[in-house]
């Protein structure tokens, strides 16, 4: 339970970090360390070099810029949790963060680390999927941007090259009045969710849904949008039956089998949690509670 030997590098600038990535073999970037450190302790990973990003300048910020939330890769989850801007305009992020680990891990864990680790159950990865966030990556040839839909290429594998690092992520803003909910099922508070659902809704004054984003996490190799649900509810004034019926389509989504739960259970959770997320989001949007149980 001790990290294997490695060489340690703590660059001060992004360009120095990129240069190190380009010149060192078998190097790993260390961000908040809440996933990499356990993996090192277990010796699941045995890098020859650790490039610590904690002393790199300019990677920790939360800025609201032209209707976009720009977040530096090394911004701690805690700082997002306590951000007034996040709470006011991206409230689903606040709700999701309260389910990310615990205070002690959020104090260290970073958004860039979460996105690059790319756990299929990770709340911030689900939000980036649901918002169609844009990831900024720095490499030897400067910066490039990756739409989040193209970010995951395989299980826990982001589409960044070995000599690139994520410097920031941008979340677009939804209407000032929008509905939102992040719900998940985990065996214990703070555990990785077995399955989660994130919902964003915009509507008109008659209660009609004009725009919807529904993301299911913990199912497949990465969180994915429940497009069938989004299409079924957009343009509708929802009823309990509409949400219930639309969310049944989540049972067809691809799901993994593992020690925590079989695929069929995850598919069941996806149908239930997406419905609950939509009910909660719609109640926040319109004040109409469609969740009343029949008995």
């Amino acid at each position: 339970m001790k990290p294997p030997p490695f060489r340690y590098h703590d660059p001060r600038t992004v360009s120095d970090a990129v240069a190190l990535l380009g010149s060192l073999e078998n190097a790993k970037l260390l961000a908040g360390g809440q996933s990499l450190m356990p993996m090192l302790n277990f010796r699941f990973v045995q890098p020859d070099h650790i490039i610590d990003l904690n002393r790199v300048e300019g990677l920790s910020y939360i800025r609201e810029d032209k209707g976009t939330l720009a977040i530096g890769a090394m911004t701690r989850q805690r700082d997002l949790e306590f951000s007034d801007v996040v709470r006011a305009r991206w409230p689903i992020m606040h709700e999701a963060l309260l389910q990310v680990g615990h205070r002690q891990t959020r104090n260290r864990g970073t958004i860039g680390g979460s996105l690059c680790h790319l756990d299929p159950s990770a709340e911030l990865v689900s939000l980036a999927t649901g918002y169609d966030a844009t990831v900024t990556v720095a490499g030897p040839n400067g910066q490039r941007e990756i739409p989040f839909a193209e970010f995951p290429v395989a299980y826990m594998t982001p589409s960044i090259e070995l000599n690139e690092l994520v410097t920031g992520v941008r979340f677009p803003q939804w209407a000032a009045k929008h509905g939102y909910a992040f719900v998940e099922f985990a065996r214990r508070h703070g555990d990785f969710a077995i399955t989660s659902a994130a919902a964003l809704l915009e509507g008109d004054s008659a209660g009609k849904i004009t725009r919807a984003s529904v993301t299911i996490g913990g199912m497949g190799t990465a969180p994915s949008r429940a497009r069938e649900v989004e299409q079924a509810i957009t343009g509708q004034v929802p009823t309990k039956e509409l949400f219930r019926g639309a969310c049944e389509s989540c049972r067809k989504l691809e799901a993994i089998d593992d020690v925590h739960a079989p695929a069929s259970y995850r598919q069941h959770l996806a149908a239930v949690l997406s419905r609950r997320a939509l009910e909660k989001a719609y109640a926040r949007l319109t004040g109409t509670d469609l969740s009343a149980r029949p008995h």
Binding site: Y8, Q34, R108
Partner: protein
């Protein structure tokens, strides 16, 4: 031996300058090199919370940090919580009075976690206390007495703050 680095940090108000192997975790450094064995190691992968310390006033799992990362920072471990060798901190006193510990293994992590929590939230609800310690495993108390002790400590700390 692997690569070593010189680091300087403050632990419980005392300045240390030490040479440390870069792969050594902060928890092992504090325990083995500084001899502060009050910080306990349970799981060594960030689940049990026993090794929680305060880094610049914020709780962190010291098994999930490298000692070199603490260079230039300020640490508080369980040894630094009491105001003097013969006087416990109010939170410690409440743990004592309410039987908030049995074997004591989780206690250092509980105390550091709750110290930060009560500073941020001096008047918590029972539910908030339970969420605050959700990242700290205790196998003896069933948490009930820890929660009672914390709520009492919060009350006494508020009274102290109001009196001063």
């Amino acid at each position: 031996m692997g690569e070593k680095r010189k680091i300087a940090l403050t632990v419980n108000g005392k300045r240390y300058e030490e040479e440390v192997e870069v792969r050594v975790t902060l928890a092992d450094f504090v325990r083995h090199q500084l001899g502060l064995t009050g910080t306990h190691l349970g799981c060594e992968h960030g689940v049990c919370g026993a090794c929680t310390i305060l880094l610049d006033g914020r709780s962190a799992r010291s098994c999930l940090m490298l000692a070199v990362q603490a260079d230039g920072h300020e640490l508080l471990t369980v040894e630094g919580i009491a105001p003097s060798p013969d006087k416990l901190h109010v939170l410690q006193q409440c743990f004592h009075e309410h039987h908030g510990l049995q074997c004591g293994f989780c206690t250092p992590g509980m105390l550091t976690t709750l110290l930060e929590f009560l500073r941020d939230n001096p008047d918590p609800t029972e539910q908030e206390v339970r969420i605050a310690i959700s990242g700290n495993l205790c196998r003896c108390t069933g948490y009930q007495n820890i929660v009672i002790a914390t709520l009492d400590a919060a009350k006494r700390m508020r009274a102290e703050a109001a009196a001063s």
